[in-house]
Symmetry: C2
Subunit: 188 residues, 2 copies
DNA sequence: TCTTTTTTGGAACAATCAGTCAAGAAACGG
DNA sequence: CCGTTTCTTGACTGATTGTTCCAAAAAAGA
């Protein structure tokens, strides 16, 4: 039998995410990756293909994990509006770390179909879940009914991006909290 | 006497902005720059120093031009709310092109003091102007008074960032317009 | 025409880049 | 124990990076 792998693949991927989210794809060298991931260079290429494939895998994993976290918040409270609030509050609290999704969109725009597809499939699930919760909240009279749930979901996620950009540009926790509150207030 | 410069420095800078806004700093090579700017490599180094200085100059120029455009909108209409609307509508209409400011913040965060300073001084002027207009609108009864003008200005610019990110990630003009409208509705 | 300065292009620079090779080390079945 | 297979390690490669050097051509005023 063959030798067994010494490192955990998903753990190494998480470490790669940590580098990519902070420095982007072009700003990250393979040196930075191997040292951060604590694996040999050859192991990197054997396990993940090349730098681009590793980046795509990192974005994919980050996207699914972020989606999972958002969905968990959206399910957290029985009252729909409170769940939406929980989602926004988590975003505010975790805005200190750079978002690999936004970073990836900023860096590549629509120029890489594989990335575009990755983002859109993640976005779709998330917006659908938020939309359903928004409709519940509308039915409960907690959210205004003059706007469609689709438009409201778009608005919330645009504000999530706005909050994260604000954080990356140096906004204080107090400012971020305010942004989250106004966004919530806006949908009422 | 000596030979006079053949190319226009600010025009060359504008061409550099066009490359940087689309590909970021790390994603742009000097080859791309000299071919896009239509000047020789030596002229580039003589005139702008090096790639990093050129990038900083590009960000600075972009920032001042963008600020100028925003301020023009904020002064456009006599009624404050209508000026704010004009500003948001311009953002929606021009969201098709990548924003070098956001790109730069995403790529470098707070890691480059020179850039941070550039952004903050531009931001400050803009937010101050918007804040004043918001207070006017509050006095006129067009904007809610339950929130401070500072918080409202922060909110508007976070939404501008959100709209631009949405555009970069592939949102349709219709979606962008909706985002602008909801943001405006939110401050009422 | 001469001088001065810019522009231009190519050649060269060291550094760094992504990616590969080859040899040794470790695990497991025999 | 052995042998096979895979993993790990570090040196290596060729290409590209940003930057500089050099020399020739070009332009503008003295």
């Amino acid at each position: 039998m063959a030798r067994t792998k010494e490192f955990d693949k998903t753990q190494a991927l998480d470490l790669a995410i940590g580098v990519f989210r902070e420095h982007g794809f072009e700003g990250t060298s393979t040196e930075m990756l191997v040292s951060a991931m604590k694996i040999g260079r050859q192991s990197l290429y054997d396990t993940f293909g090349d730098k681009w494939k590793l980046y795509c895998l990192a974005v994919e994993r980050y996207s699914t994990e972020e989606t999972k976290a958002h969905l968990a918040m959206l399910r957290k409270e029985p009252r729909a509006l409170e769940s939406i609030r929980a989602m926004m509050e988590r975003v505010v609290e975790t805005a200190g770390q750079a978002c690999l999704g936004i970073n990836s969109i900023c860096e590549f725009g629509q120029s890489r179909p594989e990335l575009t597809h990755l983002h859109q499939s993640g976005d779709w699930r998330l917006k659908e879940a938020a939309r359903k919760r928004l409709e519940e909240a509308q039915a409960a009279g907690d959210v205004c009914t003059t706007l469609s749930s689709v438009a409201l979901a778009d608005f919330l996620f645009a504000n999530i991006a706005g909050i994260r950009i604000a954080a990356r540009s140096g906004a204080s926790p107090k400012q971020l909290k305010s942004l989250g509150q106004i966004a919530l207030r806006a949908i009422k």
